[in-house]
Symmetry: D2
């Protein structure tokens, strides 16, 4: 393998490199990008508990390709030997980063400033890293202000990919393939266990829910989850609240009588009347407190003081006054509500599910339940090993979940 | 509307023409085919119970178009005024019909022979009508023998489309659209009621089931349905039996431990060992009677004397000796088992479901359950108003069904 | 609404009642709601061009049921005999309607004020009707202001359901079932013809497009549509613009090289850099005019002065400065852009597609193209006969469309 | 299998262990099954061309678990150190194997007989290995005869998993995830290249096709592929032939006029008339040679002497006399036709696609094209790295393929 010293670099990585497919991914990237590699040293962890360490020499045709290649290996935990500080540039325009800003992944990240490695706070994907007096922190582009010190380039960065821990819990073993041909009852048992463990650890269980929860008959079961303390935060949109209140006021969901399974007279107008009723009351909370809305998911949230955030979208009717019309504010509210989440369960909503996935660090376990395998695949693909997908009927899933939690 | 007497015809129809969309369909066909119509007389039933009657003059550009147009209206119950006997030709080659043979629909059909209208027996779609001494009967092309007298052309035929009866039962009201956003528990209640009614009437409940019944954890629930007398016939393929026996012998389905939800060591070989075990015993019945297979769907069928027919396919492993390798024989066995079916429930199998749909007359109610909406749509499209589609998880559906039947 | 002590009412309707399934729907509703009907007079149009007229007596168990039943028949064009003026109430709270406000459908509507029937302007579904000095107009609940005069109850309203016109155009004949087993090339030919006709009539062709247009390789073809004048308005979200600019700057879409079909080094950061580049420029228009973005869909829109509206959503990265963050403003902008639409084509976006469907009157033809049949079904279900669904690959569809339009 | 009293064993493996995820899979299995491992030696290939070698000590709680664990590692190429001959037992019952027979995978396999390692011929999954005078060969259970010498247990077996060769060809780089959001034109380019290469090497290109090829307008394009010599074998079912002949005779497919996209009068009878026409002629070949069937896929196959095999199924109409009614014979004919396949392309048929997948060794590249992602996922999951899945419209795909091949 002929090569010049100019176009090669030495990178190192350590961790459960084999188990987590990281080693394979590193090799793949090098070859895919037209580079070459030579393993200078590889110590495979002798047992399941030991880390492996790798020293790899990579070669590319020119300087620019080599730089891009090194950049591309960073998400896998590789870092150039010979430690340098991160390159920091000041923001020159509100809401914009320098052109070569480092855009984050959702993996644990450290940055080297003044010779010291610092953890990056509020880890999420697609953010810039800002160095403040209090340390390093992820910021969205729109939050940048002139003078903010932003990490640029690829030096002085360490990523720690989430290792798939074989023995950590039942949970991680579920994360295989997306299939509708599964015994859901077995999966529900594991999810129930993870929920109990999360509660025991004092961490928040966050639900992200679409209106199919109502349509498929899940109101009763979801209400029980709230009463039993298994819902700490509810992230949703206008439609969930509108149809929940519609069901409470009229017994219908999108005009369909959920007991009889058939449309009722004038039912197509029910959701607009439900929205009007809440807006007349002034808010969901006031409508519940006044007795106008006596039961349902939103009423139980109000009574149990469960935080709920309703994000607006282009397809909203109304919207209900509680719905946040500005999506930037909605994102900030979602993000704040997810701050100490120990577990996230997404029920039948690709829109809000992807929104939440964008905000979460890689180490929070996520369960995604949808009858459409394409939605489950899309949500599971984004994340890392922590996402479990379940292709099943959401109403029947909630029924099972309540049974197995009680 | 200029027209010549030569290219027009008068047809009549009667029944619930409006409710069942038949009137609309008749008009649509005439216009689509480039013809014209003039309503000569239309008596709309005054109440929900009364029939409507229609006399319609249709016009086309030439004789051939007019003949094709009349032919095309026959499935909607239209018949030319001026009653003629059916044209009958003798078969001249075994297994083949005359070129202009009348190919049946699955609707109730009468044929006029020697001035008398006779009901056609064993109604099914895509068959020829043979006039025998015992009357008129549907025969598949392959069953035709030289000398058989086959109905040809379009004269002397009366079709009675199945009218959608609004008040007949809860069942017919479910037959609307295919959607995954439904409260399945409400639909299960109706299906359970129809099953009880069918049993009370002494008619057979026929299940058509694919291997997803096993994969999704349905064995226990389906076994209970058998024990409680709700399964009279089971139509399936090699895979259902193979995975059922695999689950009985090894606790796995396609190598996945259904309790733990994870693959077990060597599990990919389990289904071949299950097949080998049955074939060594000589048959499923012998394997059950010898105690080699102690439980599961096939064992319960043997014990409860439920008729089962396993049809072979190109993707079969083995096959199990009970599996019928010749698909013509398998079709005949399926067809015989369906002879007095009062209700058919198709669980997660497009292949066998379509096979069964081809054999059924239009008046047998069919329930189709699948998590894939495309399968439900495809099966529901073929039939008439009697097919109810349910997009849901089959394992959880069976759980619900057992609960609501007990 | 005159009626006898036995709770019955007379309603009348006229139009292509049979062809458009309206008659059937009327009967269905009456029976479903537990009422009875008696046809007092029915004149079936003699030919395809003639209207039918119906006089129907309906009966219910009590006054309230009868009122609901009459309400429920209004969308089918039924109106109580004996014409009364509409009931009008004043708004007492900004953004809220009186409790019994009439919530609109998307069908042509007339309202009777001071003895005169007036057309309702800006027809859309889920709105209130406000009587102003300039006439009657649809208003969203949030647009209502104290003192506005809103139509309440069900008196004095006439709906004219869109009749499915068999001979109007090729277009209406496509609107049958949703299926992936179709010859798309034949459908594209009809869509191309409808586009040409729309342009000839001087009406706007509006595209609603999701980012899959970019991922599936549609940029080149969509750009040609713009250059050739077949795109008058583009309604989309942040992602379409971000990935279009990413493709223009880096040749990738979501980091995938569209020529090679494989991910490129650092590609996951490209969309953030694209967003940053636009935001630094100040807007898409400025980025194009400065030459920073040289080609792609957004660049062609800027050059051809095609109006584009980007609606924000909870899952947006960035967002781009052009993206409208407030969904109420975005809805108003969408709605204004749709004002004189002659045809709408929705490409791979359920979110924006449903948003647009909510705003459109029933008579604007809509084409919905998506590879996911569930999306096509959902969009086609909402509308009336004017929606054509096509289950196919969007990139290849656009390629075909360009070929057939040139 | 030497081991210490604490139930441990030493196994070795070599190959591209990291790239192909084999190392990870080995570790996963050990831990999943409750065992432990200790890496005694691991030599990572220094460059992309070098093999890696592994010596691993595995430990389990008892003898039986250890044996199952070793068995479970065999498919990954692990073999116990200390070479023993394979255990061979004689068949005692026609059509059945000894209970502990070794059931094959589709990977390259060697067996040790009399101290010599021999390649196993006719490799396929789910077979028994029979030792004959001519060597070792895969046999289906049903082919076993009394006295046949069958490999049992797990000793004396070597599996060589297919290594994913990064640089072998463009083909292997496509085999990533199943998604409908792809630029199909780029994938078609690669498939076309692989087809040309296969032809150049003198290997067979085998198509497996369902009737959607006809429905989606693919007849013209598929016919061109045949004429241009890109189809060596066609594996299909009754429906493909029936609808192809229907299209040739009547211009319809399932009664739909493919030019107009609408149903034609009496069209539902066309496919039965097509079947009757062939059966009267005596065979597809005779119908083509007599001129009764002038064009279409089957006619081009006859003219170009392309081998075709039609396998029967429970849902067949007719069937056509060419259709093989016995599925065991059909499997044997399919299997023989696949004998020297260099490439297999599956178009819109899960049934026949799975059948073919069961028969193929792991090293034959397979392309699976279907608009339903569930079908693509199911077919791609079965195989190894050689399966490429494409979610797209089959008719438009064939159009593109013809363009890029010419």
């Amino acid at each position: 393998m002929p090569q010049t010293p100019v176009h090669s670099a030495i990178v190192t990585a350590e961790g459960h490199l084999v188990d987590s497919q990281i080693l394979k991914s590193i090799f793949d990237r090098v070859i895919e990008r037209g580079g070459d590699f030579e393993v200078q040293r590889f110590d495979l962890g002798r047992t399941n508990d030991d880390f492996s360490t790798l020293t790899l020499k990579i070669t590319a045709n020119d300087e620019a390709s080599l730089a891009r290649l090194v950049e591309d290996l960073i998400p896998f935990g590789c870092r150039p030997t010979g430690e340098e500080n991160a390159l920091i540039r000041a923001v020159d325009l509100d809401g914009c980063a320098p052109e070569d800003f480092y855009s984050t992944t959702n993996q644990r990240t450290q940055v080297r400033v003044n010779g010291h490695w610092t953890d990056v706070a509020r880890q999420r994907m697609d953010a810039a890293i800002v160095i403040t007096d209090a340390g390093a922190v992820c910021r969205k582009l729109r939050e940048l202000r002139v003078g903010d010190r932003v990490v640029c380039g690829l030096e002085g960065l360490r990523i720690t990919p989430e290792f798939r821990d074989r023995e950590r819990s039942d949970f991680s073993f579920m994360s295989n393939e997306v299939s509708s041909e599964r015994r859901v009852e077995a999966s529900v048992a594991r999810i129930a266990k993870t929920m109990r463990d999360t509660r025991t650890r004092g961490e928040k269980i966050v639900f992200v829910a679409g209106p199919a929860v109502i349509h498929t008959g899940g109101v009763q079961y979801f209400s029980e989850l709230i009463k039993n303390g298994y819902v700490n935060v509810l992230l949703a949109g206008n439609a969930l609240a509108a149809h929940d209140v519609e069901f409470s006021l009229f017994g219908t969901s999108l005009g369909v009588d959920l007991e009889a399974g058939t449309p009722v007279p004038g039912g197509h107008r029910h959701h607009m009347r439900a929205i009007n009723a809440i807006n007349r009351a002034g808010s969901i909370r006031k409508a519940v407190e006044s007795g106008a809305v006596a039961n349902g998911i939103m009423a139980e949230c109000v009574r149990a003081d469960v935080e709920y955030v309703l994000a607006g979208s282009i397809r909203d009717d109304g919207p209900i006054v509680d719905t946040i019309r500005d999506i930037v504010i909605a994102q900030d509210r979602y993000s704040a509500a997810l701050a100490s989440a120990g577990m996230v369960i997404i029920l039948s909503t690709m829109l809000h599910g992807i929104g939440v996935g964008n905000m979460l660090p890689a180490w929070v376990p996520v369960v995604c339940v949808d009858i459409n395998p394409a939605v489950v695949t899309k949500l599971a693909d984004r994340g890392s090993s922590q996402t479990v997908g379940l292709v099943t009927d959401v109403g029947l899933f909630l029924h099972q979940l309540v049974r197995q939690l009680s």
